[in-house]
Amino acid sequence: MTATTTPPQVRAETPGAKPSAVANGLVLVWRNLKRLPRQPDMVVYGTIQPIMFVVLFAYVFGGSISVGGSNDPRVYREFLMGGIFAETMAFAVASSSVGLADDMKKGLVDRFRSLPIARSAVITGRVVGDLVFNAFVLVVLMLCGLVVGWRIHSTVAEAALAVFILLLFTFAMLWVAR
């Protein structure tokens, strides 16, 4: 080990200065996003599973399910995608809770709580980080939907509103995971 040099005076702000919830939260969002490319198994699991559901229901079960008296599989697929979107976003709760439980087990949450940071930052960091990941999953799913025959019939603005509502729903569900 090298000889210790006397470190320059780096003191965290004035002691007791009110920590910034936004700045702290952003650092922890950064941490939660940084791990995604380094845990490819998690990313793959999170995206492959909903795609599998789409394929399974659209092609395997779809043929024997009638929607509104129509046996046309294309009608069912339109109907199906709405359900898959909602289901996938709701299930985001599971991986999010596992992530938080892991942080608690490894003592990371304790460490964060012993730092002079905003109390909300630990949770905000995770919720916002997971929300970004789920927005990515939603895009993948929509592309997948377009491939199997799902279409946007309304205006762009209305579609954007639908995506917003879905993400709002995800956000709400992520808080349930806490």
Partner: protein, 328 residues
């Protein structure tokens, strides 16, 4: 003013069936710039004490102050003054060493560029520069602990809490970590160190507080504590079981105190104040009587003896430490 002051600290953990009194009126004071070793068996309240001081847990009764600030009333101020390194290596496994330290720096409120400089500096000091760009998932246990400790030092805390910093490390990593800790202490950090390794407290701490069942049962320097158990002792292991009697009479000739005999181990012990010269005459006499000696020596009381005498039950880890030391 003491850097850390605990007065009548009490914490009871209640579950539906039972309540456990983890802390039972703990009093402690650590003068600024000194190292206190908090020594106790598993479940004696060491970690609870640290968690209360680090504002992670509320005490039921009593008060805890860090540099004059009450942990319950001014937790934000306390958090900005302390560094904590717990029993686990609490670093993010998906981040690199450098990213971990940068993150802690940012969370302590350093601007990004300062956090980056500080991370580089600490990586250097803790001999982690080469591994800086690897995710900590791939770090060894010793490296993770060093990084964890570095994380606690990012904002140059004036008070440092280390909860069993070397538990689970191999002997080489332990010695390296001790060296790092000692350097910090020389720079004037006040340190509260909990440990179940008596050797660790002996090496690092200025003062030692032995706690058991949530109270301090003894306090003082290592030498003072050792002296409280008694002076030096001579220990003999004879070769043949039937020579124990002869050996005992030889020992009685040289020492006034009662001779302790463990028949099964053919071991005799006696308190002696004569030092090495008495030891030499005993060896000569034993030889003259034709007693074969397997082992003989002058033994100073260790902290293990202190511990055993004070708590009445063995330090659970002491044995494991000895075996490991032997293996190394």
């Amino acid at each position: 003013m003491a850097a850390v002051e605990l007065a009548g600290l009490t914490k009871v953990f209640r579950s539906r069936r039972e309540s456990v009194r983890a802390l039972d009126g703990l009093d402690l004071a650590i003068p600024e710039g000194t190292v206190l070793g908090l020594l106790g068996p598993n479940g004696s309240g060491k970690t609870t004490t640290v968690r209360i001081l680090a504002t992670l847990l509320d005490a039921d009764e009593g008060s805890a102050r860090v540099l004059g600030h009450d942990v319950a009333r001014e937790p934000d101020i306390v958090r900005s003054l302390i560094g904590l390194s717990g029993q686990f290596s609490a670093v993010d496994e998906n981040l690199t060493g450098r990213e971990n330290l940068w993150m802690f720096g940012r969370l302590y409120g350093l601007p990004s560029s300062q956090a980056r400089d500080r991370a580089a500096e600490l990586l250097e000091v803790f001999d982690l520069s080469e591994a800086a760009e690897r995710t900590t998932k791939d770090y060894s246990g010793g490296m993770k602990r060093r990084l964890d400790l570095a994380g606690a030092l990012v904002a140059q805390p004036r008070v440092l809490f280390l909860d069993e910093p070397t538990t689970g490390l191999d002997p080489k990593s332990r010695i390296e970590l001790w060296e790092v800790i000692r350097r910090r202490v020389r720079e004037g950090v006040t340190l509260l160190l909990t440990t179940q390794y008596l050797e660790e407290a002996d090496i690092l701490a200025d003062n030692i507080a032995v706690i058991d069942q949530g109270r301090v049962i003894a306090e003082g320097t290592a030498d003072l504590l050792k002296a409280s158990v008694g002076g030096e002792r001579i220990e003999v292991v004879v070769h043949e079981a039937d020579q124990v009697g002869v050996a005992a009479s030889v020992l009685r000739r040289h020492c006034e105190d009662d001779v302790g005999i463990e028949e099964r181990h053919r071991r005799l012990t006696v308190a002696s104040s004569g030092g090495a010269s008495v030891l030499v005459s005993i060896i000569r006499d034993l030889d003259a009587e034709g007693v074969g000696i397997d082992d003989i020596g002058l033994r100073r009381p260790t902290l293990d003896d202190v511990f055993l005498t004070l708590t009445g039950h063995a330090a659970e880890r002491a044995e494991a430490t000895d075996t490991r030391r032997g293996a190394a």
